[in-house]
Symmetry: C6
Subunit: 243 residues, 6 copies
Amino acid sequence: MLERVPTGIAGLDELIEGGFPINTVNLVSAPTGGGKTIFAIEYIYNGVRNYGDPGVFITIEEGYESIRRAMNAFGKDTRRYEEDGKLFILDMTELRKEMGIYESDKDGLTFDALKDALTGILKYTKAKRFALDSLVGIGLSYESPTRLREEIFRFSCFLREMNLTSLLTTESVEGTPGITRYGIEQFISDSLIVLGLEEMNGELVRTIRVRKMRFTGHDRGKHPFLITSGGIEISPHEKIFNP
Amino acid sequence: MLERVPTGIAGLDELIEGGFPINTVNLVSAPTGGGKTIFAIEYIYNGVRNYGDPGVFITIEEGYESIRRAMNAFGKDTRRYEEDGKLFILDMTELRKEMGIYESDKDGLTFDALKDALTGILKYTKAKRFALDSLVGIGLSYESPTRLREEIFRFSCFLREMNLTSLLTTESVEGTPGITRYGIEQFISDSLIVLGLEEMNGELVRTIRVRKMRFTGHDRGKHPFLITSGGIEISPHEKIFNP
Amino acid sequence: MLERVPTGIAGLDELIEGGFPINTVNLVSAPTGGGKTIFAIEYIYNGVRNYGDPGVFITIEEGYESIRRAMNAFGKDTRRYEEDGKLFILDMTELRKEMGIYESDKDGLTFDALKDALTGILKYTKAKRFALDSLVGIGLSYESPTRLREEIFRFSCFLREMNLTSLLTTESVEGTPGITRYGIEQFISDSLIVLGLEEMNGELVRTIRVRKMRFTGHDRGKHPFLITSGGIEISPHEKIFNP
Amino acid sequence: MLERVPTGIAGLDELIEGGFPINTVNLVSAPTGGGKTIFAIEYIYNGVRNYGDPGVFITIEEGYESIRRAMNAFGKDTRRYEEDGKLFILDMTELRKEMGIYESDKDGLTFDALKDALTGILKYTKAKRFALDSLVGIGLSYESPTRLREEIFRFSCFLREMNLTSLLTTESVEGTPGITRYGIEQFISDSLIVLGLEEMNGELVRTIRVRKMRFTGHDRGKHPFLITSGGIEISPHEKIFNP
Amino acid sequence: MLERVPTGIAGLDELIEGGFPINTVNLVSAPTGGGKTIFAIEYIYNGVRNYGDPGVFITIEEGYESIRRAMNAFGKDTRRYEEDGKLFILDMTELRKEMGIYESDKDGLTFDALKDALTGILKYTKAKRFALDSLVGIGLSYESPTRLREEIFRFSCFLREMNLTSLLTTESVEGTPGITRYGIEQFISDSLIVLGLEEMNGELVRTIRVRKMRFTGHDRGKHPFLITSGGIEISPHEKIFNP
Amino acid sequence: MLERVPTGIAGLDELIEGGFPINTVNLVSAPTGGGKTIFAIEYIYNGVRNYGDPGVFITIEEGYESIRRAMNAFGKDTRRYEEDGKLFILDMTELRKEMGIYESDKDGLTFDALKDALTGILKYTKAKRFALDSLVGIGLSYESPTRLREEIFRFSCFLREMNLTSLLTTESVEGTPGITRYGIEQFISDSLIVLGLEEMNGELVRTIRVRKMRFTGHDRGKHPFLITSGGIEISPHEKIFNP
């Protein structure tokens, strides 16, 4: 039996036999406004609060204040866990602004910078969960999808070696048929969860589907979900049928 | 509770829980003739007139006279507010013509030029609202979407630091499936409002949909709107159902 | 109230509240055989004959003789107005052949050449209308759509400064979904009129739709039109419904 | 009234008000096996036999023998007219093989070579008709569609100056939505006739449609045609309706 | 009357008025698993056995043993004809491995190599039929479709000069709309036969359609075929109707 | 009669007349989460356990531990066979991390490295089966599909010479119409089996279809399959009909 790391996201764990298999690298893709940041926030926050798992959240899209604001907006009190040394919100947006992307005279923000930062944090805490929002912010530093694929491959190996159960977010681009921005992220990760915004009767409905999960069975239906004042609420027993 | 900056656009604020969350960067995309300039004009003008918020409007597509003409055509008397130092219409088309786009011997009009101009204005006024029409005029100066993405990312950070609640416009290109010209703008901004022109019974109908709004719930339907002699009029209780 | 420049094209002016707003740059796109040259011809010819507006027609696709032949084929007697110094048909095809397109040792036919020619003509006449057939012939001289966009932007500013009410033609390419060849022309111009050739019951039917018109309301339906021996005849009260 | 050059192709002239307008450049596009070579053959052969118009046929796809074989297969006796100096079949395939396409040390077969050859022939004959099969064989020598467009533009001007009524063939590529290989040929020519092979009830049916004809009205329906032992037979009163 | 070279493939010759016209270059395209190798094998083998035509089969995809194995699997005894000097199976896979594709220090396997090999064989035999499986293996050596097109053009001229009636195979790529890999092969050849694998009621059904045949009429329906233990069996009187 | 190598995968062998023809190179493509790794695992494991065929499994996507974990999760006890020298799981992920992809100062992980490793193993064991998971991990090292095609071609020749019956896996990319990542792998291999994940009534259903198998007949229907705790279970008598 595989050990599981429950996400604590309402309705999700029962779709994936209890949680992410331990030590895996999990991917969530979503379009603009699809809910990937709150998804990542909940994964880390629930880990600390409900399961006592120390967690690291690295943001390279929004700053620390914005993430804190979002956590608080969903009724999640972060201060206490940060002070206890259980929750680490690492804001790499400043570094990103400074390092920029590949240019002749700059290194750009790379996975190596991420590894360095993470290694530093892991020295004085025993984090079990890790979230990165988002892969794309780093992917920009690489000139080709091929090169990026190799880097994600190595970074994923690193995360497993660090004994982390990880969640990475990526974008799906409206108007393109792929399910991830680069069309490669999903082949490296151990799982893929696809969030969508689909038009139904004139409304955009939020949907979630587990597309892949290595080593384990999983539900393969498409389910609606809501983002309420308490966060994500998945309806695991409701399904969406596309015509 | 998040503080809100009402747009004052007829019918819009009730779709987004009262207005844009303060200090956010908001994006509006529209096809040719879709109404993005009038949208930006109203956001700034309503701010000055109805809420007493000083505002800056930077145009890099049409000159000062054209914007003034448009404001007046919609019954908006700008002179008074300009004289009061509450409304700033900054015409950067001349600069754009002069600087051009990236060429070996020229710098092109960049976000850095915009920051400089904005910093100057903010020294002697306390603008709370900012509108830029359009992102694309500046985006042309960057060679790759990747590079542009980083620049928009930095510019957005700058706008938040300046304590502005901002509105940026971008284009959607007819005949391409994406919802923004570069396919990246929407991932950087805190919200995305999509304006459309859709064929219904042989007519082109104007539509609006809130596609994304960070930190807050929002209506997810697609609504019709009109541009009348008074400006934009959204019907928040009417919905459009695509077959 | 905006001053209007009537096109005099049968059925069109009532769709656009009387004509083009004065001093604007207007764009017409059409596929092969869609009628863009006759459209431009009528705009200039009607101006001279019906409204006494001196006009300049620059052709870079067909030579002077071909345009004359076409005007005469539609019963338009140009000689008289040319002799009166009211109508200028400027044939730049020779220049185009000579200058060619961008090559290491050549300048190509550019908007700068057009400006020079136009400035020369405007010294000894007071043209109010201007037509260029077509943008594409010049666009070929530019290496990228981005560069071209900037040039059209500048050329449009120039035309407004010259107090001309202008009509530019561009192509839509069969088999591609866009509505203009470069996907950018329509964002620079003040209006966009789309001519089409649509299959209905085995026939190709000519259609016209006003897609955009800055500063003013306009009809948004798609209307059929004919090209008869007298020229363009739009049916403003008939509409075409695509299934 | 425009002077006409009848094609003599069974059923075609009544679709185009009697024939091609004199001194025009006409384009025929077809997919593989669509009938463009026989179309060009008939145009030249009918001219010589039925209307006494001397004609030049340049082939750069198939050799002289192959064209002769095709003409004879359709019951057209060429020898007599060739001996009379009325019909010129110019085989440039050898030159094409020799000159090749653009390479650092070679010039490639270009429109300039074609002009030279044509000028030579026109010195000792008074050809009124000209056919080139096909544009694509020459188009290969040009690196970009833009460059090619300029060359076709110039070549078309040359043909008109030579007082020829010309027919050029081009390819439409199966599986691509465009109606010509390069998407530009049709904008230069004075007319465009599209040949198709469409699946109807499991059969490939041959179709013809006049898509564009400058200076003149024309039928706009899609008609079936056959290639029989006598050549092309169009049914001008039958139409094809696509669902 | 054109002299014919019967293929001897069950059901095919009656679709093409008795066989390929003599001295022509014929093309067969098929997707993965579509049957192009067995098609080429039968053309050569039937020629030797049924019509006494010496034949050359060049493989650059599979080795000699693999082709022999395939021939034997379909009950075709090759040894006898090879010993009689009537059948030549030329295995150029070794040469291909050795020469590779275009690289700075290598020539790659080119049509010139093929011509050399073929010229050698033709010195001591009087082959009438030639098959190449496949064009693509050679096409890889050329940097652009344009360059390749010229080479195929020249190679086809060479084959006709050698008085061969030839069959070349090419690939159609699943998931792309074209009917040949490069979109150019079919314009050079004298005929095109398209093999397909189409889904009907959950099964993949093999289909064949003659798409083009110069100098001659041909059936234009789409017919099912089987590959049985005896080889290809076409049903010329059955047709497939796509909805 | 061709000698067969049974896959031992439940339900598969009866679709392909008993197994893969001996000494062939077989390809399996699947989308993310489609089951290609477990497919390859079963092929090798069943060979050892049920048929006594020594086998080599090379992974370049997941490490040795991950493959072992997966094998054990499906109730396959590998240790015994590994100790007996019958089963070789070769983990090349470390080498991949070290060698990286093509960069000016690195060689990248190439097929040559694979050949070296395989040649080494084959010296002291008599493996009959070989599986590589996946081709893509190596394909990344090549700059163009053309170059890659040649390398796969050569590697396939090598595998046949080594008397191995091989299984290679590749990816199909969601949102693109092709059936393999590079669109070329399937033309080199002797067979192609396509695994899918298709939406039916809101569920993702696993499907399998044999698309190609050289030298032999094969079922051409699309069948559902499950991945249970025991591994892959195909329903050879059930078919899926796409509308």
